[in-house]
């Protein structure tokens, strides 16, 4: 189909890069914000603006929380669709397993569990005979956060970057992101193949040249200097969700997988099923103390990151305690498993083998549980470089074709440009809008979180419509007015968000900087920096008359 290898790679890079680029810029942008997801949560939920807390005492604080925990209404609704007959009253359901999860950046604690249900599934192969419940609690007191508060960072921006919040058609959003990640890898490889002067132009950016030249320079620059970063994030993203993308263990290899699970259960001493004999839980605090003692003994002293208990109230019950991964890249966990009824150690996870070690390292690279603020900001910068790479890709595509399309009366360049505006500045507008809505909506509004999400989607849609409307100049090979106008909107919204934080919470920048409350100060500062860049860009766009107007305009 193509005369040379280089031509085939050029085609691949151009067309797959263009189409999936719209998805990728969203994934990269929200992925970058996710580096600071918990800090954004602090900004959005002022009641959680206190210091990060370690895992609290299970016996004193968490046990009562789990006694009160009920199935979440959302999951009750979802499960009702999967099973035969009506579900029992949620208040009567018993917890079968539970978990508690925290990291070194969390003031609040995530808890949850599975409740057993007697109903049979509609689909015989469906093995999930449970309803889920979850809550976010203040670990100092055990009080839960109101259910309709949205953690804009960890529950909105973060899932956006791996699922696009598209759960229709069997979570098609995950598949779109996965395909985009594969295309990212192909775009990087093909980009290197196509970029003839990769080393000679490594430090080349010629701002005074024609737009096509400087756009391509910037595209190459941001792609190459962060090439390992871009490559590894796309690859590790795929590896992390490998069970979703290549579910061989659930399908073709299921008999083999299940046989192994049964074998492994006998080898590890961790039962797969409850025995049916009741037994009370021993002191979990004592188990935690023992786990921490053993970690310290191995030179790996640390805090508890994840606490998990299965087969609650049964003689087969066990408690698994995992270490928070703050001091290294690999997510090793160092799990220690205890018999729930006696507190004795059943199993200590052995050091990871070569394969598991590589997987733990790659996963840890992406999920970044480490405590290292410089490295987090460098990750954020890498992600922003990726966004600039993709955005300049769009701009270059349009620049290269708009003269020709104008002459031929084609609108391709116009629509590519309009979609690019929506994907780039539109995304920024929607992001700023949800933060503004977060501060403006009444505190006691029911389903407040859902309303915040609606504002986000509406703002994005508005940006798309505005972009489409204002992109007509591209048909005459001129610049769409939408770019400058949306930059101005971003700037205004970002400043408004910072001001609203001050007005509604009193935690203005001077206060957060002087008291050293970095999560909120960081978000405010980043919003102001974004506002400044957007404003300067809008000014530049409005003041520069294009020097590449066709002579016969």
């Amino acid at each position: 189909m193509f005369a040379t290898f280089r031509l085939s790679m050029t085609w691949l890079h151009t067309w797959f890069g263009l189409v999936l680029g719209y998805v990728l810029v969203v994934v990269f942008f929200f992925g970058s914000l996710s580096v600071f997801d918990r800090e954004i949560d602090r900004w959005a939920l002022p009641e959680t603006r206190f210091e990060a807390q370690p895992m609290p005492s299970f016996d004193e604080v968490l046990a009562p929380v789990f006694r009160e925990l009920e199935p979440h209404p959302d999951d009750m609704a979802a499960t009702a669709r999967r099973v035969i007959g009506p579900l029992p009253d949620p208040g009567t359901l018993e917890l079968a397993s539970l978990y508690a999860y925290t990291t070194h950046r969390d003031p609040v604690l995530l808890v949850g569990g599975e409740f057993g249900i007697p109903n049979k599934p509609k689909d015989a192969s469906d093995e999930h005979q449970h309803v889920h419940g979850w809550a976010t609690i203040d670990p100092r007191t055990g009080t839960p956060l109101p259910v309709d508060r949205l953690k804009i960072g960890s529950d909105f921006f973060y899932p956006m970057h791996y699922s696009l919040h598209l759960h229709a058609w069997n979570d098609v959003g995950y598949w779109i992101v996965g395909f985009a990640a594969l295309v990212m890898l192909a775009a990087l490889v093909s980009g290197v193949v196509v970029h003839r002067k990769l080393f000679r132009e490594l430090f080349t950016f010629r701002p005074r040249k024609q737009p096509q030249r400087r756009l391509l320079d910037l595209h190459n620059l941001t792609g190459v200097v962060a090439l390992p970063f871009h490559f590894f994030f796309a690859l590790t993203g795929l590896i992390i969700f490998a069970a979703i993308y290549l579910p061989v263990s659930d399908k073709l290899l299921k008999p083999l997988h299940d046989a192994h699970e049964r074998l492994e259960s006998t080898q590890t001493g961790l039962p797969l099923e409850p025995a049916g004999q009741p037994a009370a839980m021993a002191s979990v605090d004592a188990m935690v103390a023992e786990a921490q003692r053993r970690w310290a003994e191995r030179g790996m002293a640390g805090e508890v990151g994840l606490l998990f208990a299965d087969h609650l109230g049964d003689t087969n019950g066990y408690v698994s305690i995992y270490r928070a991964g703050t001091d290294r890249v690999s997510l090793t966990g160092e799990g220690i498993h205890f018999r729930a009824s006696t507190g004795e150690v059943i199993r200590v996870e052995p050091p990871a083998g070569v394969v598991a070690g590589i997987n733990d390292f790659l996963t840890g690279l992406h999920l970044q549980h480490f405590r290292h603020w410089l490295l987090r900001w460098l990750y954020f910068l890498g992600g922003m470089a990726g966004c600039v790479c993709i955005a300049t890709g769009f701009l270059f595509f349009v620049e290269k074709r708009k003269q020709q399309h104008a002459r031929e009366g084609r609108s391709g360049a116009r629509w590519v440009d309009a979609l690019a505006v929506a994907a780039v500045t539109g995304t920024l507008i929607a992001t700023a809008a949800i933060l503004v809505a977060n501060r403006l909506l009444p505190e006691d509004l029911p389903a407040r979180g859902t309303w915040e999400e609606r504002v986000f989607w509406l703002a994005w849609l508005g940006a798309l419509l505005h972009a489409a409307w204002r992109s007509a100049p591209v048909l005459q090979a001129r610049r769409s007015a939408a770019w400058a106008e949306q930059c101005l909107a971003v700037s205004v919204l970002a400043v408004v968000a910072v001001l609203l934080n001050w007005i509604t919470t009193g935690d203005h920048l001077w206060h957060t900087l002087t008291t050293g409350y970095w999560p909120v100060a960081g978000v405010d500062l980043t919003l102001l920096a974004a506002a400044a860049i957007a404003a300067m860009t809008a000014r530049r766009l409005w003041s520069t008359t294009p020097t590449w107007e066709p002579a016969h305009a």
Binding site: R200, F203, T204, P207, F229
Partner: protein
């Protein structure tokens, strides 16, 4: 926070290292020495200086942090450093003139 200063030093060393590698290239050398083409020994020395600066920055990273984190910090530090070097060559190439103090001849 003394550690913060050391991280600044890491970035400075990486910038100097990458700038040296850049100056060893004909096109960037020409920005500071428009008249004279780059001599082969100069290229080698500049690259040696660059490699030394990068190695020193990596060593400093390894001293500051645990092994895998340190390597990751260093690889990621290349990103802002490379961007800074590039933009400096785009707008203020003369800022790198001191790196060539030992070459003597002026245009």
């Amino acid at each position: 926070m003394p550690d913060a200063l050391f991280y600044v030093l890491v970035v400075v060393l990486v910038v100097l290292g990458l700038a040296s590698f850049a100056l060893a290239m004909e096109r960037h050398w020409r920005q500071l020495r428009p008249g004279s083409p780059i001599a082969r020994p100069t290229t080698l020395v500049l690259r040696a200086i660059g490699a030394t600066a990068l190695a020193a920055s990596l060593a400093l990273c390894l001293w500051l942090d645990h092994g895998t984190i340190a390597s990751l910090v260093w690889v990621m530090a290349l990103v802002p450093a490379a961007l800074a070097v590039t933009f400096t060559f785009s707008w203020r190439p003369q800022w790198f003139a001191p790196l060539l103090w030992w070459t003597g001849t002026r245009p």
